[in-house]
Amino acid sequence: MLKVEELRVHFRTEFGVVRAVDGVSFEVERGEKFTLIGESGSGKSVLAQSILRLLPKNAYVSGRIIFEGRNLLELGEEEMRRIRGRKIAWIPQSQSSLNPVLTVGLQCAEPVMEHFKTDKKSALLKVARMFEFFGMGRGRISDYPHQFSGGMRQRVLVAMGISADPEFLIADEPTKGLDASKRKNIAELFEKIDKTMLIITHDLEFAERVSDRIAVMYCGEVVEISPAKEFFREPLHPYSKGLLESLPSRGLKPIIGFQPSMINPPSGCRFRERCEFAKKICERAPPESIVDGRIVRCWMYAERGWA
């Protein structure tokens, strides 16, 4: 349904070119929940924003993003606007994504009014029904954002995202800043929503619960794409292993070192300086290997070169 090919997003800054996304390819199938995980600064949010072309003007985007047979990167601004919210919706990071001076109902109704040209009354009615479905009172549509708790605000944002009935949803860190029980609520909500989704998160437990497939991003590159079940049973890439082992439930063992700078990333495998298995060959860029239908970018799984 959505196909990203060799996507690169570079920012030109005074310190040099930041390669936030560097040659990423993946495909999201219709109906699945595809999750991008990775630590902060790995480029996952930038990747999501580049799909809707929301990046600031100093971003240089190349590659192809194919949605319904069209390359989104080549569309005009007006065509793009018709896709945003209607075809592809965005569920932003929580808290400050609601306008403090408008009622939440009106904000959720806006995409409906904009894309279906309906009047305010019927749009609000639709929003009220949605609020009920999400476990909030109908009457709450006339409240202001500051009258909601963090967890409820996140639900409002989800409602806002799906109000215009889009085919594809991008959720950017939907559990950011929420406590465990609220994260569970959002996970339940996501399970209820029957839409194709691209979820960006660094919350691994949330990812395990809601996703069908997982892509791991490290330093602007996708290092592994696996079905969620298999990924959490047996991660392939050393970085994925490190991520899972750093979970409290799996030993709380952090990955040593820091993510390298995106201005001068190390040559070859970008993870090699932190990798316990690194060898001489890792100084060369690892090829993409396919292991049991899973994609992994590591020399360990390459046909030649490791042994």
Binding site: G85, S96, V101, E110, E114
Partner: protein, 282 residues
């Protein structure tokens, strides 16, 4: 709910209450002028330059007109002119500033340079020159003063609005609106500008004081509201020849100019505190 809280915040703030009190007092003066004051134009040559007494509360001027009545009617003139100037320059300034801040690029450069140019010229001197030009071009009219002040006054609104919008447009809810398919103008008018109104209200209040000063200055220089229409600055000008023999001619208009400017400044400062504190609570 928050309206009530806001109102309580205003009245709990001494500066606000005091400023608001003064402004309401002067506004009531202007509103009730036909009831509480006599005819400001009626001359009486037998009662020229009389000091304040029970009959003439603030004395009489060189034509025997009642200074009290002229002061009260003058409140109407001053407030109306100042309000018109503020509303026009606020609208123009906010819109231009918001456009500059939101769209950036060449639009911002052009508007920014215009703002810089206006800022470089001393305000009052520019106003005087403009009134002169307008008088020659269109004849004497109150609109000369209004337009001349608007031309220099919108700049401060534009500057403040631009900087607020610059920070607002990076806020997540604006990006989120864009992600949901809203157009630029819609975002700007419905989401960005309403969020900038707090600081703009403070600015407008403080600015009212400046505008009143400017109007009075122009009046004093004989360029503002023309006699016989009562206006405080112009009254000081007329009274300055008698400052040693009849000081009430300059004292009372001066007092009311100072009082109204003080009122707006107090309210502005107070609002800044109230709105600022509200920000902190959020």
């Amino acid at each position: 709910m928050e309206v009530v809280a806001f109102r309580m915040g205003i009245f709990r703030n001494t500066l606000c209450t005091l400023g608001l009190g003064i402004i309401v007092f002067i506004a009531l003066m202007g509103l009730l002028a036909p009831i509480i004051a006599g005819d400001p134009y009626k001359t009486n040559m037998s009662e020229r330059l009389k000091p304040p007494s029970l009959k003439h509360l603030f004395g009489t001027d060189q034509l025997g007109r009642d200074v009290y009545s002229r002061i009260v009617w003058g409140a109407r003139t001053t407030l109306l002119v100042a309000l018109t100037i503020s509303i026009i320059s606020m609208t123009v300034g906010c819109l231009l500033g918001a456009i500059a801040g939101y769209f950036g690029g060449i639009v911002d450069d052009v508007i920014g340079r215009i703002i810089d140019t206006f800022l470089a010229i001393p305000e009052l001197v520019f106003n005087i020159a403009l009134v002169g030009i307008f008088c020659v071009a269109y004849g004497t009219s109150i609109w000369n003063v209004i337009l001349a002040v608007v031309v220099t006054n919108w700049v401060s609104y534009a500057r403040v609005m631009r900087s607020i919008v610059l920070s607002l447009k990076e806020r997540e809810f604006v990006i989120c609106e864009k992600a949901l398919g809203a157009g630029d103008w819609y975002i700007l008018l419905r989401h960005v500008i309403p969020n900038a109104l707090g600081p703009i209200i403070v600015l407008a209040t403080l600015n009212m004081g400046n505008v009143i000063m400017t109007i009075s200055s122009l009046g004093f220089l004989g360029l503002g509201v023309q006699p016989p229409t009562p206006e405080w600055g112009q009254m000081i000008n007329a009274g300055k020849n008698y400052i040693t023999t009849a000081p009430w001619l300059t004292f009372f208009p001066g007092l009311f100019i100072a009082l109204s400017v003080l009122g707006f400044n107090l309210l502005g400062e107070g609002l800044q505190e109230v709105i600022g504190r509200k920000r902190l609570v959020e």
